[in-house]
Symmetry: C2
C-alpha cells in the first residue's frame, strides 16, 4: 500500500504502534506536535519540529525568503504556545539547491532571527545540505513549561466551554487572495489577510496568560484547521464536542473574501488551516477570567465557540439556523491524493 | 553569489555572524554539530540534527530503508558521542513522495528504532510531509552530559597527543565497493566494509569511557573525514597539529581496497569520510590510561596518530618517509561544485 492511500494520521498511528514503550520521562510522545519530557519534578521540556517543503508548503514565487523564515519559526513557536510554554532554542536544517543565492539564505535567516528574537529565543545550530530537489526548511524548537502550568490535549472535561483566541479563517482568506489577487478587496484589508497568511503570529504570550492561571483544561494550536484540530482534543480527552457556527470569530476582511469567493464565512473559519490561534477548554465559570487575563496581557480577544460533550454524544456543528451536522475533519492531510 | 561558490563552512560562518549574541545559557552554538546548553549548574543539554537527502547522501537503489534508518540515527548518536554525552530523545522529520510504500516507512522506522534502542533512547515525535522531490530524512537528537565530563572542540593544548578510536577509511573503502562491486575483495571482508558504510557504529560507549575519566581535552567525531574534522579542533582550540601518516589505523580489508583501486591507504584514512570514529586529544601521560579505559569498556582500540602544536607552527601531515606536507581539509563540502 502507498502512503497516499493510507493518509497522514493513520501513518503516524502506525509508526507509534511499532515503537517500543517509552521510558518514564516521556509524558507525551509521538502523535502530538510536541514531545513533553520530564526534566525534573517541576519542569517539562518541550520539543517540536515542523518541516516546510517547497511545492508542498510554499512556493518560492509567492513567499519571500524573509517571510518564509518568519513563518517556519512561527509555526514551531505556535506548537510551544499550545502547551503554555516558553520557547528557548532553535535548530534549523536546510536542504538547498547549489544554485541558491547567498542573499536568499541571508533573508531566510533574517526572518528566522526576527521571529526568534521576538520571543527571546536563540538559533543555536542546524544543518546544511545540498539537494537536487525542492528547498526544505526544517525547524526544530526546544522550550519549557512548569508541570503545574502545562496544558495538554488530554485534559478537557464534559461541561467545559471551548474557547479560541483571535479570529479564524484569516489565513485561508489570505491564501484565497494569493490565488486570486484581483478579488477586489481593499488594500488595507488585503494587507492584513496576506500578513496573516505569510507571517502568522504565534500566540506565545496568550498561551502563557492562559496557562499561568492554571484553570484551562486542554489546549491546541490551530494549524490544520479547527474542524481537524479540535478532534485531537476529543481523541486525547475521550470527549465529544458541539461547536456553534455562528459564534466562530470572523473578521470583516475575511467575511469580504468569503462573499467575493462565494463561500460561507463560518465554513472558512471552521475548515481554514494555518491560523495558529489557540483553541482551549475550561470550566464555564472561568471563561470571563481567562478572557480578561488574555486581553489584559496581549490585547487579544477570546471567544467561546462551543461546549465539551460526553464522548458518546459525538462531535457536532450547530449551524446558524439551529440544525446540527456531524463535525468532520476537513483539514490538511499531507498524503491524501489531491492534498 | 551562489552558495555553491561560497561553500558550506563559509556559509555557516556567515549565518553565525548575522545572528544576535546568545543568551548566557548557550555554551556552544551555531558552527558546531551539537548545541551545548546549560540546563543548570551541573548539566549540559546537547541538541543536534542531521539531514539525509536522497541523491546527496543516499540512493534508494543502494541502501535499504532499514539501513537508512539505522544510519540516520547513528550519525546523530555519533555527534552526541563526540561530546561524551548520553543520547535521550529523537524527533524525526520525513518528506516523502506520496507514492512511497508504507512498508518502506515501516522498515525505515525499524532501523531508527533498532539504533535508538541500542543506546536506550526514545523516538518521541517528528513530522511528516509530502514532497514532489527526493526523500528527506531529518533526525533531531537530544542528549545530556555532566558539565564536568563534557568534551568540546576547544580544549586541546600544545603538547597533547591526538588519539582516535577504531580504524579509519573503512566507510570510504565500503563506498568504493558499492561503486565497484567486482573489485575482488573476499566476501567476509566486503561485508565488513559495506556494514561500516551503511550501518556505522556510533561510539557512544567509547565517548562515555573517555569523558568519564575527565583527562581528555577535546573531542570530535569523524564525519567529513579526519583531514577536515581535525581542523575544527585546531580552529576552536587555537592550535596547530602534526598527524603521522604511518600511524593512522587502517584495517586489512581497507588496505586491500586501497591496493585494488590504486590508492594510498593512509590517504584513504586521512580523507575518507563517514567513519564516525572519535578523534580526541589528551596529555601524553594519560594516553595509556584512556586507551585502557576504552578497551576495557568496549573492546575498541585507541591509537595515537599525532601531536598538538602551537597555532603558529601550522597543520602538517608527516608522510611515512619522514617528509611533511601541509594538512589540507579534503573532506566533504556540500555546496562546492562537484561535491
Amino acid at each position: 500500500m502507498k502512503i497516499s492511500a493510507l493518509g497522514e494520521f493513520p501513518l503516524i498511528e502506525r509508526i507509534a504502534q511499532r515503537l517500543p514503550p517509552y521510558r518514564k520521562d516521556v509524558r507525551v510522545g509521538i502523535g502530538d506536535d510536541v514531545a513533553v519530557l520530564e526534566v525534573d519534578d517541576q519542569t517539562y521540556q518541550l520539543a517540536t519540529c515542523d518541516i516546510q517543503v517547497e511545492g508542498a508548503h510554499f512556493s518560492r514565487h509567492s513567499i519571500t525568503p524573509y517571510q518564509l523564515g518568519r513563518k517556519a519559526a512561527a509555526i514551531n513557536l505556535s506548537d510551544i504556545a499550545a502547551k503554555g510554554g516558553t520557547p528557548e532554542h532553535f535548530l534549523v536544517s536546510l536542504a538547498l539547491p547549489p544554485d541558491t543565492e547567498v542573499s536568499w539564505v541571508d533573508a531566510l535567516y533574517d526572518g528566522l532571527r526576527e521571529e526568534a528574537s521576538r520571543y527571546d529565543a536563540d538559533i543555536v545550530g542546524g544543518n546544511l545540505s545540498k539537494t537536487d530537489g525542492p528547498i526544505v526548511v526544517d525547524v526544530f524548537l526546544l522550550g519549557q513549561v512548569s508541570q503545574e502550568e502545562a496544558l495538554l490535549r488530554s485534559g478537557a472535561r464534559v461541561g467545559d466551554v471551548v474557547l479560541v483566541t483571535g479570529c479564524l479563517g484569516v489565513s485561508a482568506a489570505g491564501l484565497a487572495l494569493v490565488l486570486q489577487p484581483d478579488l477586489g478587496v481593499e488594500s488595507e484589508e488585503a494587507e492584513q489577510l496576506l500578513a496573516a497568511h505569510f507571517t502568522p503570529t504565534p500566540r506565545i504570550w496568550e498561551g502563557r496568560a492562559i496557562a499561568s492561571r492554571r484553570r484551562a483544561t486542554a489546549m491546541i494550536d490551530l494549524s490544520d484547521g479547527l474542524s481537524s484540530d479540535i478532534g485531537h482534543i476529543c481523541d486525547e480527552s475521550d470527549v465529544g464536542v458541539r461547536l456553534w457556527a455562528k459564534r466562530l470569530p470572523v473578521s470583516g476582511a475575511t467575511r469580504r473574501v468569503a462573499e467575493l469567493t462565494g463561500r460561507v464565512d463560518w465554513a472558512l473559519a471552521l475548515q481554514g488551516g494555518e491560523d495558529y490561534e489557540l483553541c482551549f477548554t475550561a470550566p464555564p465559570e472561568v471563561e470571563r477570567e481567562l478572557a480578561a487575563a488574555v486581553r489584559e496581557a496581549t490585547g487579544t480577544e477570546v471567544t467561546s465557540i462551543g461546549e465539551v460533550l460526553p464522548d458518546e454524544a459525538g462531535r457536532w456543528v450547530q449551524l446558524p439556523d439551529g440544525r446540527e451536522i456531524p463535525l468532520k475533519p476537513e483539514g490538511w492531510d499531507h498524503f491524501r491524493v489531491g492534498a
